[in-house]
């Protein structure tokens, strides 16, 4: 195959060399530690082969936090490079790779896994189900996402990072202008992760439609369930477009076809359209579950039911519908006719209407409430003003003619960070602080949480607010340097300092996770926040079968009324019956590894090796279709013992709101 070993590892840059050594040492360290602690069997049995939605969710979250770190370092490198005029930290090529991977990792391997992770943990609990509809498929989804993410990440040290931007516009992303294999990583790694996401979408649509507990009609579902359900529908509607676009890109790059290339009659504009036909709905895929989390958090900590539940549901459905009709606003400047630009200006601005409805509903949920400033609630509160800035600048960008002056400038960069960070990252943080006790049986420390909050929010505003003005002054995105005469220097420096403060905030989160895991009080009740939805009706952390006896839902905020009317909270011994649960399976992780290997060969254009590895995928599918294991039954005694352990003790939270 003519392997060029001298080109295999990226060499010649001290930063990359440092990372290579660090990665190697970390890997050796992890393997040595697990071996020393004799935990391999435990890892395999309890985590690698698990089909339990809560554990899969936790693994998603772990991966999301790790990727946040990677993407964050990319972001800091960019900010350090542009902190001063004519910065010398990175060269153009390195900077291009860094902003490309920053974008891809933050959207696909940070935001999506964190959201899908929380969805995984919470949705089955919220609808009173024992697991998702297809538990083994769920495991496969996770391992494929993980496999894609790892494949994408090694590009930094082996083979070369993608360097055509996270949008990978053709003809630049074609072999005519990027002849290395860097952008093959983009085409193949995202494809593998995307297949996993698509399957998650299908899984959650079926779960929500078929697995709700008795009495929970669609209009009695918690808001987070609603938003996740609609998100899943958008995933199923839009991810196939990405799959096709990436497949065509793969053909172009690896097999020499001409779908998007400059030569041979390729159509570069087709890529742009396909990319944003997926890319815009993707924004709502990440933002809608986040809206659901805010709804839960705001309602719980205002001690009021969600204001205007019905109009909330209609507005998310409206947003989902409109999300498929606005993609052209990403390229108003491509020279489409004035009629096209006008129509897409209107559809885009229309999104402000349902979004505005949601904002006012949240505000009026708090009105007449009793607002507790827990860390989770602080994130939800900070979201409102920050997101308003993101939203109003979004409307400004939606105005086609005005966009000619904003497009591709830092104004745009500031806008989408003001949407995605408050809209997604704040939500994930709120969700983590809120649901942490449900996942791990202990809280995250509130004091550290507040430090995390203030550093992060102030750092965030300091980083991105100046970019609006830089953009209006003509500073463009993705430029690795600028001259001193431009006068961008001072604001760029403010922005870079802000990024440092933001990073300290993230550091507090990591420390908080560590500190709480070691020292936090384990003696907490199953319902520490006095919350409203069903996930709080079972133990914290929830037992693997979720509910000993499935609750019955009579109204919205079911658990709140169960507590109020003291109805259905007790568990009588004769009500406990055997529970049917799915068995663990090693097949998902093995298939994901095979996928990863096949992808790696394909990326390096070793086509025959890739084909051979791909046979392994088919073998996995065959093995799965002859799998007759239909789970096991949890004996009554085991359930009794588990339930007794948490129900008998009168637990109390010590100081959970400091």
């Amino acid at each position: 195959m003519g392997i060029k070993w001298d080109k295999f590892f990226i060499t010649g840059d001290p930063l990359i060399l440092g990372s290579q050594i660090a990665i190697l040492l970390t890997m050796i360290g992890i393997v040595a530690l697990v071996t020393y602690l004799k935990k391999w069997k435990w890892l395999w049995r309890e985590w690698f082969t698990t089909v339990d939605h809560k554990r899969i969710g936790i693994m998603y979250i772990l991966m999301g936090v790790l990727m946040f770190f990677r993407g964050g370092v990319d972001g800091l490198l960019m900010k350090a490079q542009t902190a001063t005029a004519d910065g010398k930290l990175l060269d153009a090529q390195h900077y291009n790779e860094v902003f490309t991977t920053h974008g891809v990792i933050m959207i696909l391997f940070m935001a999506m896994p964190l959201l899908i992770g929380i969805m995984n943990v919470i949705i089955p609990l919220q609808i009173g189900a024992r697991d998702v509809a297809f538990p083994q498929l769920n495991a496969l989804s996770f391992w494929l996402t993980f496999s894609g993410a790892m494949l994408f990440n090694i590009s930094f040290v082996i083979g070369g990072s993608p360097d055509a931007g996270w949008t990978a516009y053709f003809p630049l992303a074609g072999k005519e202008f990027t002849p290395g294999i860097g952008n093959n990583f983009y085409a193949v790694a995202i494809q593998i992760a995307g297949i996993g996401t698509l399957m998650t979408g299908i899984n959650f649509i079926v779960t929500v439609l078929k697995m709700r507990v008795k009495g929970m009609t669609l209009m009695k579902m918690p808001m987070f369930t609603w938003t996740s359900f609609i998100t899943s529908i958008i995933i199923v509607a839009s991810f196939p477009i990405l799959t096709v676009a990436l497949a065509l890109m793969t053909f172009d790059r690896i097999f020499g076809t001409h779908f998007f290339t400059l030569g041979g009659g390729g159509l570069d504009m087709m890529w742009v359209n396909l990319f944003w036909l997926w890319g815009h709905p993707e924004v709502y895929i990440v933002v809608l579950p986040a809206f659901g989390m805010f709804s839960e958090v705001i309602s719980t900590f205002s001690r009021k039911m969600l204001f205007g539940y019905k109009s909330m549901v209609f507005s998310i459905v409206g947003i989902a519908f409109l999300s498929m009709l606005v993609w052209v606003h990403h390229f108003f400047t491509m020279g489409a006719g004035p009629a096209v630009n006008s129509i897409f200006s209107i559809t885009t601005m229309m999104i402000a209407i349902p979004t505005g409805v949601k904002i006012f509903n949240w505000l009026f949920t708090m009105r007449k409430g009793r607002i507790q400033f827990t860390t989770a609630m602080l994130w939800a509160l900070a979201f409102v003003p920050c997101f308003i800035i993101g939203g109003t600048t979004g409307v400004m960008l939606a105005m086609g003619a005005a966009d000619y002056q904003y497009h591709n400038s830092l104004f745009l960069v500031a806008h989408f960070h003001y949407v995605l960070i408050p809209g997604v990252v704040f939500a994930v943080f709120a969700g983590l602080y809120y649901w942490w006790p449900k996942m791990f049986g202990h809280m995250l420390n509130e004091k550290l949480g507040k430090l995390h909050f203030w550093f992060f929010v102030i750092g965030f505003n300091m980083t991105f607010l100046p970019m609006f003005f830089l953009g209006l002054d003509g500073a463009v995105r993705r430029s690795y340097t600028y001259s001193a005469e431009t006068g961008f220097g001072p604001l760029m420096l403010v922005s870079a300092i802000g990024a440092g403060i933001l990073a300290i905030g993230f550091g507090f989160l990591c420390y908080n996770i560590y500190w709480s895991a070691r020292y936090a009080d384990r003696n907490i009740s199953s319902d520490p926040w006095d919350a409203r939805t069903l996930e709080w009706a079972t133990a914290s952390p929830a037992p693997f079968y979720n509910f000993a006896k499935l609750p019955e839902v009579k109204s919205l905020d079911a658990f709140w009324y169960m507590k109020k009317n003291n109805d259905g909270l007790e568990l009588r011994e004769n009500e406990i019956k055997e529970i049917h649960m799915p068995s663990n399976s090693g097949l998902p992780i093995i298939m994901a590894i095979v996928f990863g290997i096949a992808g790696f060969f394909l990326i390096f254009e070793w086509k025959i090796a890739a084909l051979v590895a791909a046979l392994g995928i088919i073998a996995g599918l065959i093995v799965r279709s002859f799998d007759y294991n239909d789970g096991f039954h949890v004996p009554v005694d085991e359930i009794k013992a588990t339930e007794k352990a948490w129900r008998k003790v009168d637990k109390e939270v010590k100081d959970h709101v400091s």
Binding site: K4, I10, G12, A92, Q93, G160, S161, D163, Y169, K175, F177, T178, P179, G180, I181, G256, L262, G263, D268, M269, R303, M305, T333, M334, G335, P338, S342, S345, I346, M349, G356, V357, F360, N361, L363, F364, M366, R367, K368, R370, I371, F373, A382, V384, P385, C386, I388, M399, G400, Y404, Q405, H407, N408, L465, L472, V476, R477, R478, S479, Y482
Partner: protein, 332 residues
């Protein structure tokens, strides 16, 4: 207890700074021609509404969060059950609709206006300039004057310029913020825009659409001259500047950042990249960097193909000048 209201002034800095935008002389707020001014009017109109939204929502937010915060005094307060209010919900559905309508009408008007010669200049004959973006430089051809410049463009002030945009390779975006909005340049496509400079002066233009290693350096200068000075400059160029040949043009298209150049003829004589079937000049070997080399496919329609089978992967053998294949024209 934390006072949430810290956030309000923090976030409220935005509109204040936005309002002071004019004083800061940000280029978008300091238009030098009717096109940029038209867009700025639209931006200012939208700012009024956005400011209104920000003030109302921030105010309501601050008021609610402050008034209904949990204190030790209201410990026993049990919030009422409130499903919603049809009246209120209708109000905050319709107000945004009205705002959207108020923004839509001028937006669409402006979108259509920008397609035409700016108001007041309908009677002046526009000058056509063909803009060709290449990696990583801007090539300006004046078909009427028969001259060509690289990385700078001189225009007569107070005259509408009809820019016809295309690209020799990657997708790029042509932006002179002081004079007007931007538009993409794409190979085998022609986009078009009118710009006018009110008065003589120098303005920065640049590419905003990322296109590889040399992207950051893809700047050019627009120099608006008085009509007399412009005519004199054209005359000077015609008599003094060197001629461009197809051979030197192919060299020009190779990926590089260049300074200014001037020629007394245009490349339109042998290729207009905007044509559907225009010749293609690509140099994949010149884009190699530290990543693992992938296979490069030979495009039959590439006019820089070397006739060195099997040797093409060699990075040291990259001088392709003069090897452009003129024998393949028959297909087009």
């Amino acid at each position: 207890m934390f006072k949430k209201n810290y956030l309000v002034p923090l976030a409220a800095i935005l509109p204040v700074l936005l309002l002071s935008g004019c004083d800061m002389n940000m280029v978008v707020f300091d238009p030098q021609g009717p096109v940029a001014r038209e867009i700025l009017d639209l931006i200012n109109w939208s700012l009024v509404f956005m400011l209104l939204v920000v003030v109302v929502v921030f105010g309501l937010f601050g008021y609610i969060v402050w008034k209904y915060r949990a204190t030790s005094k209201n410990k026993d307060y049990e919030p009422p059950e409130e499903h919603g209010s049809t009246k209120l919900e209708i109000i905050w559905t319709f107000i945004p609709i009205l705002i959207v309508i108020a923004l839509t009408i001028p937006t669409i008007k402006t979108i259509y206006k920008l397609e035409k010669v700016p108001e007041g200049y309908e009677n002046k004959k526009p000058i056509t300039i063909n803009v060709t973006s290449a990696d990583w430089k801007w090539i300006f051809s004046y078909p009427e004057q028969g001259i060509e410049t690289v990385n700078y463009v001189n225009i007569p002030a107070d005259t509408p310029i009809n820019f016809k945009l295309t690209s020799a390779g990657t997708m790029q975006s042509f932006w002179v913020p002081a004079l007007g909005g931007q538009k993409y340049t794409m190979a085998k496509m022609e986009t078009q825009m009118y710009l006018v400079a009110d008065h003589p002066g120098e303005y920065i233009g640049r590419n905003t659409n990322f296109n590889g290693k040399g992207y950051a350096g893809m700047e050019f200068t627009v120099e608006a001259k008085s009509p007399q000075a412009f005519a004199k400059w054209v005359k000077d160029v015609k008599s003094k500047a060197p001629k461009l040949t197809e051979k030197s043009y192919i060299n020009l298209l190779k990926p590089s950042n260049l300074g200014r150049e001037t020629f007394s003829n245009t490349h339109l004589a042998w290729v207009n990249h905007a044509d559907m079937n225009a010749k293609i000049y690509t140099f994949p070997e010149l884009y190699r960097n530290h990543d693992y080399p992938g296979q490069i496919f030979k495009d039959p329609d590439n006019h820089t193909n070397e006739k060195t089978e099997g040797k093409s992967m060699d990075m040291n053998n990259m001088d392709m000048s003069g090897k452009s294949n003129g024998g393949e024209h028959s297909g087009h």
